[in-house]
């Protein structure tokens, strides 16, 4: 199905199942421990051997020699794979660094060997016996020292630089100016399930049970890496213990399980050990962002400039921190630039809302600073500078843009009017209390997605697509879509995901999964409805599907009858025309946060959080809300504690475990409120939905930062905002 004109009324609009807060259909399995994750397929591949990865001890250089003698002789060892004995391996097209290093080493903890043994204990012990002789080379590890040599590099969805009018002149002429530099650190996905894979070969055919967000991408890249045809690779990934962008591409577990299984001649499973994950896999890159805003005294932005620097390995890509600045606020004269430095740290790559997440961390503090300079309420300043068109291409309007309503609704619900604009004025016992606001913004991406739908003689509708559910609720919204379309209760729908034997979907990433994958299911269901109508002798344009019946006029036939003499199946793909070119499609929101700053210790604790989101049709308010609160929490982590600390002498992330890399725990997070504006976006898809999972993180950290400022009067521009950055600037204790 080609989606190239705005959606009109369709069966989804009935909202009998869609739009309802349906419990997750995978919930009973997940809560009883019976959902099968990648390392747990005991029945599918019995008697597996265990692989354990050896990571490089240096950040850059070469392996002079690897001595495997002791490891090979260790009890239980079946095989050891290194770059030397793995055979020829291509580099996948999606990764920047190779998954198996050697002789050249590209980053710390890059895999250099996998040791395969009878048991996990034996593999782990033998891995310690692998002796690697390295020749370490000097590397570049400090982004701040490389800003001058950094090169322009395009970002996802746009060029490196954009320019409208004469920014320099307009900024110079502006009566109120802000010129500030912000930094965000490297961050880790730190999903709870480590990257894990189980591999089994049947002749030249490889089956990988793995934990992966993008099935088709990974089939292609695994095949490319192993130099085998795609048809020889089967990926199975029905349950994924979190991804956040960290499981978009194949990682060392998948490749080394495959190589280990080939070498050992039996199934092998490999999970990345947690202390290896932080340097071995990808991370969100650190940024340095300079933001300049010029405004008239009445608060109209006249000039806005955003420059961003980030780093990655040679051939890598920059963080798109300037993305939202191209679209979020009005201003006639504007510029953005993106510069990429070459670093020898582990590979930088996508993490939840790549670009906007970091960009909004900076931009939305800058707006708060401007509001203060102007003496205008920060909610009002944002409203004042709203734009209904793409400010770089005013001929393009937004398909939907209700930022103002998000801000107004949130302000009212949060009690924003009671806020003291002057910082440091509110005390509650030992706490200095403050509130902060930030806009939320994340683009909506359209990408084709296919599904197959089958109807059997008992009236069960089965959906098959290689879509993944990384906690997002895909199972449930897909079931809701099929139930709505076919007119059956949700318990008559079976959803099967995460298998490369199924039609290729959008996959999970960039908050594109929900809208696109359900649109693909919609397309397949339209076809199935036609087949059913034809089979039952209805005019498909007139047939209504409801209550397990197909109806038209006075005639009503049970849906199941259509499959009475054999299953009916239909497959289709949703494909998009140029609506996304004609209209800018984005999602909007507003974050409101209250924090306490301890008067003595400067400990920062979040006390209240509210997000208001306008993101098209909300397919399931229960699971969508969960996505938003999860993103809000990750935003709190980014604001207050998350930082991969670089040892700039040796080029690695020092705090490479979950004790050292702190993410929020229960005690850090208060009750969270989320409001969805009632909205449909007919430009996005027949579902009229958009992404929601990443919108929730964009702006949160800045709202926290702004609340800290409001509480304490201390403005911190370097994340994470830890107590040591406030301590010297707080009043005396007493």
């Amino acid at each position: 199905m080609k989606f190239d004109t705005p959606a009109t009324t369709n069966p989804i609009d009935q909202l009998r199942v869609i739009g309802q807060p349906v419990n997750r259909i995978d919930g009973p399995r997940k809560t009883t421990g019976t959902a099968t994750y990648a390392y747990e397929w005991h029945d599918a591949a019995p008697n597996p051997a265990y692989g354990y990865i050896v990571g490089s001890a240096i950040a850059k250089g070469r392996i002079n020699a690897i001595d495997l003698a002791a490891a090979k002789a260790a009890p239980g060892v079946l095989a050891i794979v290194t770059a030397e004995n793995a055979g020829k391996l291509e580099k996948g097209s999606l990764n920047t660094a190779k998954l198996l290093g050697g002789p050249d080493i590209q980053h710390y903890h890059q895999a250099v060997a996998v040791v395969v043994a009878e048991t996990f204990e034996q593999a782990r012990a033998a891995a310690q016996l692998v002796r690697v002789d390295y020749a370490s080379a000097q590397g570049a590890f400090d982004l701040a020292k490389l800003t001058d040599s950094a090169k322009p590099e395009k970002i996802t969805g746009g060029p490196a630089d954009t320019k409208v009018g004469d920014f320099a002149a307009a900024f110079a002429a502006a009566p109120v100016q802000l010129d500030a530099t912000y930094t965000t650190p490297d961050e880790a996905h730190a999903m709870m399930e480590p990257h894990a894979s189980m591999a089994a070969w049947d002749g030249d055919k490889l089956t990988l049970w793995t934990s992966n967000q993008m099935i088709a991408w990974n089939v292609a890249d695994i095949a490319k890496t192993l130099a085998i045809p795609k048809e020889k690779v089967r990926l199975i990934s029905p349950y994924i213990g979190g991804g956040f962008g960290g499981k978009l591409f194949p990682r060392a577990d998948a490749l080394l399980a495959a190589l280990g299984a080939r070498a050992a001649g039996r199934p092998v499973k490999v999970a990345l050990q947690r202390p290896l994950m932080f340097n071995n896999t990808t991370h969100r890159p650190a940024t340095i962002q300079r933001i300049r805003i010029g405004a008239s005294k009445d608060g109209k932005i006249t000039a806005i400039g955003h420059e961003s620097w980030s780093g990655d390995l040679p051939g890598g890509q920059p963080d798109g921190a300037v993305s939202q600045t191209r679209l979020l606020y009005a201003g006639a004269d504007r510029m953005t630039t993106t510069r990429l430095a070459v670093l020898d740290l582990p590979e930088a790559n996508a993490m939840r809302a790549p670009g906007e997440a970091t960009g909004m961390m900076a931009l939305e503090i800058a707006i708060d600073e401007m509001a203060e300079k102007l003496g205008i309420d920060p909610v009002e300043l944002r409203i004042l500078n709203d734009t209904q068109v793409d400010p770089e291409k005013p001929e393009r309007s937004f398909s939907q843009r209700r930022l103002i309503e998000c801000l107004r609704t949130g302000a009212e619900r949060f009690g924003w009017s009671k806020r003291s604009a002057a910082p440091g004025r509110v005390r509650d016992g030992r706490w200095l209390v403050g509130t902060g606001v930030a806009a939320a913004f994340r683009n909506n991406m359209l990408t084709k997605s296919a599904a197959r739908v089958r109807l059997d003689s008992s009236g069960i509708v089965t959906v098959e697509t290689d879509m993944t559910d990384i906690g997002t609720g895909s199972y449930t919204i897909i079931a809701q879509t099929a139930a709505e379309m076919m007119g059956v209760p949700i318990d008559k729908v079976v959803v099967r995901l995460g298998d490369s034997n199924f039609p290729v979907s959008a996959g999970s990433g960039g908050q594109w999964g929900g809208n696109n994958s359900t649109a693909g299911v919609y397309a397949a269901c339209i076809k199935l409805r036609e087949a059913v109508a034809q089979k039952l002798g209805f005019n498909s344009a007139e047939a209504a599907f409801a209550d397990g019946q197909v109806k038209s006029g006075n005639r009503s036939v049970p849906l199941a009858e259509a499959a009475g003499d054999g299953e009916l199946a239909a497959e289709d793909v949703i494909e998009y025309g140029d609506l996304a070119k004609k209209y800018q499609q984005s999602t909007f929101g507003a974050h409101f946060v209250e924090v306490g700053v301890d008067t003595a210790t400067a400990e920062i604790r979040v006390r209240r959080m509210l997000a208001v989101c306008a993101a098209g049709r909300i397919l399931n308010p229960k699971t969508a809300r969960s996505q938003v609160i999860g993103a809000m929490t990750m935003g709190v982590g980014a604001a207050l504690m998350e930082e991969l600390v670089i040892d700039k002498r040796h080029g690695f992330f020092v705090n490479h475990d979950l004790a050292g890399y702190e993410v929020p725990v229960h005690a850090d997070i208060p009750h969270q409120d989320v409001i969805f504006l009632d909205e449909t976006d007919p430009m996005s898809s027949p579902m009229k939905a958009k992404g929601i999972a990443e919108l929730g993180i964009c702006g949160v950290a800045a709202a926290v930062a702004n609340a800290i400022y409001n509480a304490s009067g201390v403005r911190v521009r370097d994340y994470p905002i830890t107590l040591d950055k406030l301590l010297d600037r707080l009043p005396e204790v007493g």
């Binding site: 419990n23 997750r24 995978d26 919930g27 009973p28 399995r29 997940k30 809560t31 009883t32 421990g33 019976t34 959902a35 099968t36 994750y37 390392y39 747990e40 005991h42 008697n47 260790a74 009890p75 239980g76 009878e118 048991t119 204990e121 034996q122 012990a125 996905h189 999903m191 709870m192 399930e193 480590p194 349950y239 213990g241 979190g242 991804g243 999970a271 947690r274 990384i470 906690g471 997002t472 609720g473 969960s626 996505q627 609160i629 999860g630 993103a631 809000m632 929490t633 990750m634 475990d657 979950l658 004790a659 993410v663 929020p664 725990v665 229960h666 005690a667 997070i669 009750h671 969270q672």
Partner: protein
């Protein structure tokens, strides 16, 4: 005693390993011999070759059934459950006591199964997520997690649920917490108490707010 769960558990027996004599190591705590222990230990505890696995027999009760295992002494309770017994509901998130995904209830108390050895649990009783309920017959805590969407990816979920079940018992037993205002008074259930007590269970999807709602509902219905 039950047999071992699947033939896979016998994989060690094919290997040329010294098997630890059962006599000294399988006796339950109450029946520990008073004879000099050390002499016996010396007889049975030498590995065949340096570095070779030392195997030991251990039996403990999992979800109401006694399991007899022959494990490498290095095998954690977590790996014994997941790899030897195929109770994969208990998750390995970090293997270092930093995330709580492996939380199980042993002798009524929640612990991290990754930081304890299987052989240290001779004669003890372990409850895993599978022991609380099944998809068709969920424990009230499991049902509350579904109702309140107290999970997303599901990987930390079994640990959260085991922890939550134990937390309610801990409060009932009068165990104080870091946020209990009065140390000498009996702790009361509250959201703040719950958040502090559940902080050893990290949820990166961050269903925290919903988990608090789920556990609060169960706590209320219990009161």
């Amino acid at each position: 005693m039950d047999d071992m769960r699947s033939p896979g558990d016998f994989k060690f027996s094919r290997r040329d390993l010294l098997i630890v004599g059962a006599a000294s190591l399988t006796a339950p705590a109450v029946a520990v011999t008073t004879e000099p222990f050390v002499a016996k230990a010396e007889v049975v505890l030498k590995p065949a070759v340096p570095g070779a696995p030392v195997m030991s027999k251990v039996s403990f009760n999992v979800n109401g059934k006694t399991r007899v295992l022959e494990v490498d002494t290095r095998t954690t309770l977590l790996d014994a459950l997941r790899e030897n017994l195929h109770f994969t509901g208990t998750k390995k998130g970090c293997d270092h006591g930093q995330c709580g995904a492996c939380t199980v209830i042993v002798g009524g108390r929640r612990i991290n199964a990754c930081l304890t050895l299987a052989v240290m649990h001779e004669g003890e009783s372990v409850t895993t997520i599978e022991g609380l309920g099944t998809p068709d017959n969920m424990h009230p805590m499991q049902a509350a997690f579904v109702k309140h969407d107290g999970y997303q990816c599901g990987y930390c979920t079994p640990g959260q649920i085991c922890s939550a079940v134990a937390v309610l018992e801990e409060i009932k037993a009068g165990i104080p917490s870091h946020v209990s205002a009065d140390l000498t008074a009996a702790p009361q259930f509250s959201a703040a108490e719950l958040r502090e007590r559940m902080s050893g269970n990290i949820c990166r999807c961050a269903a925290y707010s919903n988990i608090v709602d789920a556990v609060t509902e169960v706590a209320g219905s219990k009161a």
